[in-house]
């Protein structure tokens, strides 16, 4: 499908009617379904005119990968197979994307780490691959439980990092992810994160548009790097392999290329703002002095805590949910914590990478005390009561 330009195509290769991203995301009638996060992945991919996907088993992402395989059997995905390891898979999807395919894959925890060398390579190669990351703990000891330490490792790979709170977010973000990542001015990979099990394996009500419409196919001829399909002049034909040489032109080229990848992520802001309806979401009393800043399930739990604090303690609070981490929504965050006295950063990992991010971006912009708590890991849950207790302890002490 990707051989035709968007304006020439009325239906995609699977026979679905092609609609604009805005229509698919905002205007098409939606119906309510009860499904898991993994099933939401399938429904999103089904409407995304996906050309290729490569898979590898690891809990908790396996089911999503199986379901993409079913879509391949049903004719909704062009190329699908199981790779040899996550390292191989991430290189295989890179090949797929270089050859002009809209490409998606999924992984979790140890899989992410096994694949790691590929992520900066994806970004440097400027391919708009989408990775749905269902976060889980990393070894040792072995754990298959939810824990998002791996997301902290990924922050500086040059990929966009988005964080879905629930199955609904995940469905919408996968569709928006392709649209934003493939903008010629952006054209970098997008990693769409959800918390494993809490989202992948939990059934919830989600609203989805009909399945006979889909995103416009990817047009690789608009990519900033020549597509490797032999239909354009060889892009790598350089007289001089300067990047491999030990001279200042080579150093400057490598450095400026890395800056450009980061600049591309910055250029995604207006598109992401539009298709995600803002880079942050606020919940609770906008003027509250107690603010939770969180992403994913931690944001859901913080919302519950806001309700409990208000109903049971009469304390006003609010949640700032970050939908994107790269680009980091620092302007939105700074504006939203203007009244804050206490900023709590609840997260699902032991190192507190989210707290580090918040502290960095608010330095010099907020006088609030930033508290990296509560922090749970290794599969522990974060009941709203635990968050409330953390707040009460702190407020009482000070």
């Amino acid at each position: 499908m990707s051989n035709l330009t968007t304006s020439e195509v009325k239906v995609n290769k699977s026979g679905q009617r092609i609609v604009s991203p805005d229509y698919l995301l905002f205007e098409a009638p939606r119906e309510k379904f009860f499904m898991t996060g993994s099933e939401a992945v399938k429904e999103a991919v089904k409407r995304a005119s996906v050309d290729a996907s490569v898979s590898y088993p690891i809990t908790p992402q396996s089911e999503a990968a199986h379901l993409i395989g079913e879509l391949w059997v049903e004719g909704y995905v062009g190329v699908y197979f199981r790779g040899e390891s996550e390292f191989g898979v991430m290189s295989e999807v890179a090949g797929c994307a270089m050859a002009g395919a809209r490409t998606i894959t999924t992984t979790s925890g140890p899989g992410t780490l096994r694949a790691f060398e590929n992520f900066p390579m994806w970004a440097g190669t400027r391919i708009p691959v989408q990775l749905v990351l269902m976060a889980r703990g990393v070894n040792s000891p072995l754990s298959i439980q939810p824990d998002n330490l791996e997301v902290g490792f990924l922050l500086d790979t040059g990929c966009m990092i988005w964080y879905a709170e629930n199955a609904q977010d995940l469905f919408d973000m996968i569709l928006a992810g392709f649209v934003v990542a493939e903008k010629p001015a952006v054209h970098v990979p997008v990693i769409t994160v959800v918390d494993g099990f809490f989202v992948s394996h939990t059934r919830e009500a989600i609203m989805i548009p009909p399945d006979d419409i889909a995103l416009p196919p990817y047009d690789p001829t608009k990519a900033p790097m020549p597509v490797i399909d032999l239909e354009v002049p060889p892009g790598r034909f350089l007289r001089d392999p300067f990047v491999m040489k030990s001279n200042y032109i080579s150093y400057a080229t490598h450095a400026s290329w890395q800056f450009e990848v980061r600049a591309a992520i910055e250029r995604s802001r207006p598109y992401a703002k539009h298709y995600l309806r803002g880079l942050i979401e606020e919940f609770g009393n906008p003027e509250a002095e107690i603010v939770f800043v969180a992403a994913g399930t931690a944001a859901s739990q913080a919302k519950e805590a806001v309700r409990l604090l208000k109903d049971e303690e009469g304390i006003e609070a609010k949640v700032v949910k970050l939908k994107t981490l790269r680009p980091f929504p620092y302007e939105e965050l700074r504006a939203s914590v203007k009244n804050a006295k206490y900023i709590f950063v609840p997260e699902f990992n032991v190192v507190g990478w989210m707290e580090r991010e918040i502290t960095k971006w608010l330095y010099g912009y907020s006088n609030a005390t930033i508290i990296g708590a509560p922090r749970v890991a290794g599969g522990m849950t974060m009941p709203a009561e635990v968050i409330v207790k953390e707040v009460l302890n702190y407020v009482k002490e000070s």
Binding site: V89, S91, C96, M98, L230, E231, P234, R236, P241
Partner: protein, 286 residues
């Protein structure tokens, strides 16, 4: 078929470097009967190279580039190592992404091109060193054979990690002293050609690059069999003259010596591969 992408817009011709104009006017692109005998007379697809003077890898690359039946319809996936220094000088679609992932990247490219262009010839060739193919990348290499990917894999075996300064590799013969094997290599040279056969390759060849005509014949067979049938593997001895202490004019001598022993010409052809070869021969392309 894709030769048109090499054709220069006439309005820009006066600002194009001569070597690019020559590619359009004096190369053997768009002629599947091309071969190593054209080398002295036509524009080559390699524009200079930055390997050591006399490095047999350079000769091997020139022979291969001259022998590919459809370079305008061929993508070469490379890996890190001495060969990667040559790729920016090659007038073909080439990819370098990581060290050791070449067969995985090639698999993705090949499958998507078959999906996007089901009726067109788009050959995918992997070309990488022994470290890349047999050590760090062995998993991806063999798995692409298991999966029957329709790609040609060419290994430049110089029996050492040359680009990083001469360390022992799995392809180093037992007993050789290299860096990281200061007491001599403790285990046998990996029989990679045999692993390729056992892993499902349809055509396998082992040879030195002492005979350009033989390289041409092997490369053409490997590419055609991969195009129509499944994985093919070519194992070439391209000695690292620098690391084994030879002068720049001694590479050929070294290869001729090995022709008689551990790199004696060896070819494995499945019956179905033989059919492809016979058919292509009948068409006058071999």
């Amino acid at each position: 078929m894709s030769f048109k992408v090499y054709q220069i817009n006439p309005e820009l011709k006066d600002v194009m470097p001569q070597e690019i104009i020559d590619l359009e006017e004096k190369s053997t692109l768009n002629n599947p009967k091309r071969g190593v005998m054209d080398l002295p007379f036509y524009k080559e697809l390699i524009e200079e190279h930055s390997l050591c003077a006399g490095c047999p890898e350079a000769a091997a690359l020139r022979y291969i580039m001259a022998s590919l039946p459809n370079p305008e319809d061929t993508i070469i996936v490379n890996s890190t190592g001495c060969t990667s220094l040559v790729f920016p000088h090659i007038a073909m679609h080439t990819v370098h992404s990581l060290f050791g992932n070449q067969n995985a990247v090639a698999s993705g490219i090949k499958r998507v091109l078959e999906y996007r262009y089901p009726d067109r010839v788009k050959d995918v060739v992997v070309l990488a060193g022994d470290g890349a193919t047999v050590d760090i990348g062995l998993d991806c290499t063999l798995q692409s054979f298991f999966r029957q990917e329709k790609i040609t894999t060419i290994c430049f075996d110089n029996e050492v990690y040359a680009n990083t300064g001469g360390q022992e590799s799995g392809m180093t013969p037992k007993g050789h002293v290299f860096k990281m094997a200061p007491k001599g290599k403790q285990f046998e040279k990996v029989p990679m050609w045999q692993l390729a056969i056992d892993s499902g390759c349809k055509y396998v060849a082992r040879l030195t690059v002492s005979s350009p005509k033989r390289v041409e014949s092997v490369i053409k067979k490997a590419v055609y069999v991969a195009r129509y049938l499944g994985p093919t593997y070519v194992h070439l001895y391209t000695p690292c003259i620098l690391e084994i202490g030879l002068n720049s004019d001694q590479g050929l001598e070294e290869m001729r010596a090995r022709d008689k022993e551990r790199f004696e010409f060896f070819e494995y052809i499945t019956p179905e591969a033989q059919e492809v070869i016979d058919r292509v021969k009948a068409e006058g392309l071999l």
